[in-house]
Symmetry: D2
Subunit: 322 residues, 4 copies
Amino acid sequence: MCEQEPTATTASTTANRGGRPVSRAEFDKMFEQLRTWGTHADASRGAWAEAGPRQAADAARLVRSGRSAALGLPWNTVAGPDNAVPALHYMSDLGVREAPEPSTNKDFIGADFHGKAVSHLDALSHIAYRGELYDGHVSTEVVDATGASFGSVGALGHLVTRGVLIDLPHAEGVDWLEPGTAVGAEDLQRACDTLGVEPRPGDAILLRTGHFARRRKLGPWDPSTASAGLHVDAMPWIARYRPAVLGGDGDSDVRPSPTPGIHSPIHILAITALGTPLLDNLDLEDLASLAASEGRWEFFFVVAPLNIERGTGSPVNPIAVF
Amino acid sequence: MCEQEPTATTASTTANRGGRPVSRAEFDKMFEQLRTWGTHADASRGAWAEAGPRQAADAARLVRSGRSAALGLPWNTVAGPDNAVPALHYMSDLGVREAPEPSTNKDFIGADFHGKAVSHLDALSHIAYRGELYDGHVSTEVVDATGASFGSVGALGHLVTRGVLIDLPHAEGVDWLEPGTAVGAEDLQRACDTLGVEPRPGDAILLRTGHFARRRKLGPWDPSTASAGLHVDAMPWIARYRPAVLGGDGDSDVRPSPTPGIHSPIHILAITALGTPLLDNLDLEDLASLAASEGRWEFFFVVAPLNIERGTGSPVNPIAVF
Amino acid sequence: MCEQEPTATTASTTANRGGRPVSRAEFDKMFEQLRTWGTHADASRGAWAEAGPRQAADAARLVRSGRSAALGLPWNTVAGPDNAVPALHYMSDLGVREAPEPSTNKDFIGADFHGKAVSHLDALSHIAYRGELYDGHVSTEVVDATGASFGSVGALGHLVTRGVLIDLPHAEGVDWLEPGTAVGAEDLQRACDTLGVEPRPGDAILLRTGHFARRRKLGPWDPSTASAGLHVDAMPWIARYRPAVLGGDGDSDVRPSPTPGIHSPIHILAITALGTPLLDNLDLEDLASLAASEGRWEFFFVVAPLNIERGTGSPVNPIAVF
Amino acid sequence: MCEQEPTATTASTTANRGGRPVSRAEFDKMFEQLRTWGTHADASRGAWAEAGPRQAADAARLVRSGRSAALGLPWNTVAGPDNAVPALHYMSDLGVREAPEPSTNKDFIGADFHGKAVSHLDALSHIAYRGELYDGHVSTEVVDATGASFGSVGALGHLVTRGVLIDLPHAEGVDWLEPGTAVGAEDLQRACDTLGVEPRPGDAILLRTGHFARRRKLGPWDPSTASAGLHVDAMPWIARYRPAVLGGDGDSDVRPSPTPGIHSPIHILAITALGTPLLDNLDLEDLASLAASEGRWEFFFVVAPLNIERGTGSPVNPIAVF
């Protein structure tokens, strides 16, 4: 964890603000209130299906300049405080296996991609609360050593919809939110008002906390210990808009968690209660610059996970087009 | 290799037609004629840069119904005649590593993705002819065990442009082209005329031979031995249109190769001469159905490779939107 | 699978002899009769503990010429009928990562080693019958995505003891036993008599069927379909001698299995009933030559598995010294 | 890196003693003096061949009690200051792939094993000085992306010989040598005198610095920065005895290196000059206890690397028997 003092501008009002504690009973009450079990025709896809052809067609009309940004982090093969299980990249050929012409350079890649270092999509099989996945499927019954028969990333497939960037540091006029800063419903609403966006059903809602602006300036830290992210109290606001996917430059959860005994309450509320897949560890810096340059925080958005039929997620490189 | 007799309709005129032999001298002459070395501002990206914001914006205007298709094959972990190095998929967690709540299911994936089983993008560092990559970079000088410093997939980044599907079996009224069938310039032109499309600079040109329609009906075979694909003589036609990327449901090359001593002449002409990245092993069946249903073979197209900074390519799941 | 006709000498009396069918009820009765649950002080190690310092010291006195043989197959990265999940071997450095001096060449290796292609040790956590491992541990309770808390290869550790090679083809005067040949108690006894060896408690009993002599002459086949190996009826004979480990050039089981619904009855009887680890896919050809040259089929024997603390086994390269 | 103050007893005379600086010219002179190029019949095996059947037979006569120790570290999947590229261990089956009976638990393992965390053998292809491997083979000519055609671990095969443990902390009456402590010829000679051992040609010489005693007490540190190990000046003493292999609980090199521009001078002198393979990162604690208990520091010794035909080394679990 980085020990340096931050020297850049950060929000004084939100710095080190982890939000109110939330008891387990309160959390469970919210879980019951938010959950949408039984409401989606294809429970394996959950809220992902909120984005259909109409949303894609509407989103395409947002494309004007054609400028675009990719949100995938570089494939990180170096262990560090935010990379406990580094990705693999080996050259499997350097011009010697296929002869005589052409010679070919080839690679092997590998990743235990859930974690803090790979930009990835969490499918609905990734998170179980009290042993149950979304829609009440018992995790141990539908996920085994061969993968997931319910809630797989193969069942999700790809997404084409409108993206909305809630750029919190930009809206607040700071460089980033300090690790540990909880984002509540009022923070989201105020940022949306400032940026002039309002989410709609089927959107991809992306939250920028400035995580990678901070990391590039101050170096890596352990995001399991301290991350800016959503407070439990923000989730009714999110749920109201029925997004197809929720993403961020952290993993959406504020850490430390406000709820004792639950390390990732937002993962539970989003994935297990609402059936909303998550996009974790997105690099939102280029997108933020582009949005500011274009003067709008909505755009055409595509997520194209690898087709891992029984996978619980996939590394991704989501694309935003303005 | 599948021994069954094909029972579906295949083009009688093209069946088993491997095209005329091309001598090494002729091939080298074409290589000289086609090569665009020194013409691209960023040689690491080559023709990929033909697609810029304008092409993206133009392509977005093609979106009407919002219906879309993904082109990535399922992640194939089973060895077979077309899968010599099967991909890896292991569960790294089944609800026991992160306790107490939530429990998480996680996976490790791995792939030696160049080959015949993974849908992937070939960056310009992948193919060297006579020891040289595109623009004359010496392969052994710019690609080593740490990856590629020239022509990497990280240098390419993503692509947003118009896609054009040259659906040869559809145009010819057959189920697929038999493995070994060479596709020439006149075949391409005739198919384009029939389908009512004409490529433009910056396009993604996708060739369907019906490879996976055949595989699903007759089982896998070894595509190194027999594949429908482009004949050397088709490349001037392709080059004329300056596509940003060329792709197909094989790996673009007809096999056996018409040129002695060169196992993949199209790879050389596209990647090394023209600086045009290739998309290999795309599943074009859903796209073909969708195009036929929409009655047009042009669409908005996005390729989002993983951001492997020194990689020679990446698994991909390209997306077409109508 | 190899289609060629075998041209070498094989045992006419045993060729294609799969042994009598064994009903499930008979199998279960034998399972009850043989099982040694509750008899070993450290159940995680089972019969492995039959070989202690005394056995090691006795075995060392067998060393006279000092000639030795290694039993590990080459690391096989090529898919084939007997290699469904090929091992991985990539160069992770070729003189460029550690500079300036010395330069280093380095490798990454990987293996899903249980199967037919890697010489490996099966620990007691590898095989469950009716959901139970050796000593009645419920498999799903003691083995999870993090590995095995009971019966791991880390618990076994290494083995130093006497090895006994029951070289069936040598004793029978043939080149190999045909795939599918079942070996019974009388075959074992007759071979021991011919070779002049008698197993003792704590021994490593190694059975040679000539698998790799056949493979080198006729090519690979699928050993899941046809393997020479032990018939169920041979296990009381084996059990009587209380070996520390049982190994072979197949995986000890004759295939097809004589018992309906049980694909690997010997694995169950050895590992789950007797607590006897197995050594699978050993290359016994060099050892057989050496034993014949030395004129004795007993030797000093060392197995040194990798120290995978929660692993269910390990690749190994066992060593025999005469 | 561990910041705690050591509280155990360490050698005051040697603490923080990195040894005299050695200029590059001096180093090169020693390289010339020591090198044995052209002297071994099979240069790929180098000094490994000093241990033949006679040495094995002689060593076997050292076995009296039959007690034994394994020297392989636990397979370490957790990144840390001494584990930059953690090993992989995933369960590939948990009772669901092979049905109905028996059910099987299986694992995938992987490792980029050269480094500081895996006990491993360095073959002669691992280290090049001025571009040359042992016997003058040009590294880039004989090692490529497919592995090594000279000096592979497959060419080495296994080793059976006498092992000699030079237990420096035991001989000096301390718990361990502090990281950074250089061990010279006089230290080795004095320890041998104290322990009553003298190396012989073909021996495995193992040096204990107490690395893992310290790690278990004080936690891990980065051994690239500070390791107890051999000083350049110790190598003539080692060379005089013509060991078949040299090993230690570090990687034999003292760090920081005494020679500017050369990070691993002992690797060069042992592997590249002498053709002596190295055993790195051995856990010598159990062996040290056993040797002290037995009152002798010589024993029967077996190294059984995996048979990676073109590998530059292998994970190993060497076995010592008394």
